[in-house]
């Protein structure tokens, strides 16, 4: 069994950067057995031994009922993990120690890494790592993932020197008595008893007893057992931090922040920023894509067409070539451009301001402001956006957000809109499609929040300080995201492209075309081959455009279809049925029923809106 080390820490402490330093290539996105939360794993080497490195999702606490926290708890308790590396942010040591104290209670071998020491030094904060090591009873390293300082010592220390922490939180004596009693009556350890007092665990009897004791403690303290435990931990983290942190307290100006977080001019700025983002992606993507498509045409598809081999083999090869061409033609020009802009916004700390600005509007759609983050990510690709809905508090909110996200025009749909409408109708018409979709998204949200009313729990978000984005962090973040896209979407693209190629080869497409012609011609007023193009769009959205060109027999679409027809085609293919990768992720995240419901809704919506425009245009 290979040695395994797991990185655990708060969100935004530089875990991913450390992970990237440690592993380099060969990163996999996978699921931990029995969980749908993604876990990044990569390989590294130390003293000729292979080491598996896990990057756990960032959490603030282990004692939260959410799925992400449950996953982190399971990995921490897993004996297959050789050592835990607790990553701390030197600039926010106290709050980070709170999580570390919880991890320490598992008694697993661990080391602590105080990261961002360079940033801390700039702000006049110094951390005494030797003293911290003595207080915690584990090795403590000082690192800066941004500069690479101290990173090379993480693996040797974790492999050779990790040990169980000796630090112990002194809990309130009523809590201690309760823990003692539960541990004795049920034969469980201290940590399990503490979690049971907070309502966590699988043993119904234990939870029942702990609930009764907890309630009594709550009555006497006018604070729940969970609150007391949390407070005790925070206090102990505070005591430790006081001993090891020296701070000169350098203040930071907040003038810009004030400007960005007021309704005026905050909201207009937010709208402007989002519009500008889309416009840049639209323009830059269009130009770059052309180069990439042409390069593939000359370098790959041309040579394949010239090959003298069996037609079936040639068809398969051509399908693979096409998939690569369109995959890269979208991935880099559109998605990568989008991800760079998104990372710029995130790294500057603007996104959490945006969440608060959008909070009131989001309430009307049954969501909170933080849902704006996955919605914006959806403009790049719906798949990671759906995975991003995990940060939402309730399943109800996740379902509403999923409905809305699948309607957000992703990069592939941008290709359809720009390739068909912007090229052959007008740029204004292309933008009107975005507007129509946006209005539909808002209407859907308004209806859903009525259909499925639920309580508003509010939003608690960390507000990182506004700062100039660091180019290396922006590139790294975009690269990690695009890598995820390539790993998840590319294989699906290849398979579906080959399947389509085979369908075409064996004549199955013509049969479908005949069957679907009434809807296409009667309802939408489109030529019969357009239905086939729409069908292909289910597999890969941008294929709708390519197929249309192939079936129409000309790249000058305006010679065979009217402007209205092109407009209807683009809007229907944008709205109807999320692509197959999106449906797969929907199913995994929210179950088959929700996936089916959303798919049906979008089919109905797409065809309905298309038919309406057809009617209106006479």
């Amino acid at each position: 069994m290979p040695l395994t080390i797991a990185l655990v820490g708060n969100p935004g402490v530089g875990k991913s950067l450390i992970f990237n330093h440690l592993t380099g290539v060969g990163v996999e996105v996978g699921n931990y057995p029995g969980s749908s939360v993604d876990l990044l794993s990569g390989r590294s080497c130390f003293q000729r031994e292979r080491i598996e490195v896990l990057d756990l999702p960032g959490v603030y606490s282990l004692d939260d009922g959410a799925e992400t926290e449950a996953l982190v708890r399971r990995v921490i308790a897993d004996d297959a993990v050789t050592a835990l590396v607790a990553v701390l942010d030197a600039t926010r040591l106290e709050r980070n120690l709170y999580l570390l104290l919880q991890v320490a209670e598992y008694g697993r071998p661990m080391v602590a890494v105080v990261n961002m020491v360079d940033e801390a030094a700039r702000r006049g904060i110094a951390v005494d790592t030797e003293r911290l090591s003595a207080l915690l009873g584990i090795p403590v390293l000082a690192t800066s993932a941004a500069t690479g300082q101290g990173i090379d010592r993480i693996l040797p220390t974790a492999v050779l020197e990790a040990r169980a922490a000796t630090v112990e939180v002194p809990y309130d004596h009523h809590v201690e008595a309760a823990v003692h009693s539960l541990a004795r009556s049920f034969g469980v350890d201290r940590r399990t008893a503490l979690q049971a007092l907070q309502g966590l665990g699988d043993d119904a009897d234990l939870l029942d007893a702990a609930g009764a004791i907890g309630e009594e403690i709550g009555r006497r303290h006018r604070m729940s057992a969970g609150q007391i435990i949390t407070t005790n931990r925070h206090n102990h983290a505070g005591v430790i931090a006081d001993e090891v942190v020296r701070s000169a307290g350098v203040g930071v100006g907040a003038a810009l922040d004030r400007l960005l977080t007021r309704t005026v001019p905050g909201v207009p700025i937010l709208v402007g920023v989002l519009m500008a983002m889309l416009l840049v992606v639209f323009l830059v993507g269009g130009v770059l894509e052309e180069y990439i498509v042409r390069a593939f045409e000359f370098g790959l598809l041309g040579p394949i067409a010239a090959l003298e081999i069996h037609p079936l083999a040639k068809e398969v090869l051509r399908a693979v070539g096409l998939a690569l061409q369109s995959g890269f033609g979208i991935a880099f020009p559109y998605i990568f451009t989008f991800y760079i802009l998104l990372a710029l916004l995130e790294d500057s700390g603007y996104m959490s301001r945006a969440a608060f600005l959008a909070d009131r509007a989001m309430h009307r759609m049954g969501l909170h402001g933080e849902a704006i983050i996955p919605l914006v990510i959806g403009f790049g690709c719906n798949v990671p956006a759906l995975m991003g809905t995990r940060l939402l508090a309730t399943r109800r909110e996740r379902i509403i957000a999923a409905f809305l996200i699948t309607m957000v025009p992703c990069s592939a749909r941008t290709v359809v809109i720009s390739g068909i409408v912007a090229s052959f109708v007008s740029l204004a018409a292309a933008f009107s499609i975005y507007m129509v979709v946006l209005v539909l998204i808002v209407l859907t949200g308004l209806v859903l929040s009525r259909v499925a009313p639920g309580p508003q729990f509010g939003m608690v978000l960390e507000m990182p300080q506004l700062r100039r984005p660091r180019p290396d962090m922006v590139l790294l973040k975009s690269w990690l995201r695009i890598k995820e896209f390539l790993y998840i979407a590319m294989p699906l693209l290849l398979v579906s492209s080959v399947v389509l190629g085979l369908f075409g080869y064996y004549g199955a497409i013509a049969a479908f075309q005949a069957a679907f012609a009434p809807v296409s011609e009667g309802l939408l007023g489109l030529p019969d081959y357009a239905s086939t193009a729409l069908l292909f769009g289910i597999l890969r959205k941008e294929m709708a455009f390519e197929t249309l060109v192939v079936l129409a027999g000309t790249a000058s679409l305006d010679t065979v279809m009217t402007g209205v027809q092109l407009y209807i085609f683009a809007i229907v293919s944008t709205l109807f049925v999320p692509c197959i990768s999106t449906v797969a992720v929907l199913r995994r995240e929210l179950g088959s029923r929700v996936a089916a419901l959303i798919t049906l809704y979008t089919v109905g919506l797409g065809i309905g809106i298309g038919a309406l425009i057809h009617l209106a245009a006479g």
């Binding site: 009897d205 007893a209 604070m223 925070h234 939003m459 960390e462």
Partner: protein, 209 residues
Amino acid sequence: MIMTEPATDREEDLLEALLEAPGLDRTALAARLGLEPEVLARLEEGAAARGRLEPEGGGRYRLSPEGHGIARRIARHHRTLACFFEQLGMEPDAANREACTLEHGVSDEAIARLADHLRCPSPCERPCEGRGGADGQSLLDYGEGERVCITAVRPCGRYRRLMDMGVVPGEEVVVRRRLSNRAVVIEVKGCEIGLSPECAATVLGTPCP
């Protein structure tokens, strides 16, 4: 030893108290049950004779496995009934007193059906209502730059996340900014966190001296 004899109401109260408040000394236990110390002693001896308590030394008793089972059953009755009365609009204290009386006579089946019917929410699934109270004003009522000593965080809404971020009773926080939409940014433990109005309303505090 007669195992089948049903426990009396008093005995059930004793077992419940031992479950909910382990480690109480005898005087406190007697006061909690409203009994004279001699009566308590007799009650304990009786329960021990029926196998529901085990001597722990020093004249003290602890729950036997059977006693534990009874205590848990009664505690569950109590919680379900109290929740029911609170949902009917009774004050929590009154609901508790009522539950104390009824918890002994009610059947397990009735409780199970009542619990199913009520689906008593765990505290963190309750949305929050109201603002302010005996513990001071909510964060919504403080201006920028004011220092606030947290006195209570209502156990509702996203309170788990708030607590994990360090917003706990006794903590001193500073109101940094007030955003659009009445949201509040506070500084706690050297970090700035933003709270939407629903959440800010659940955090109560008094001005720091």
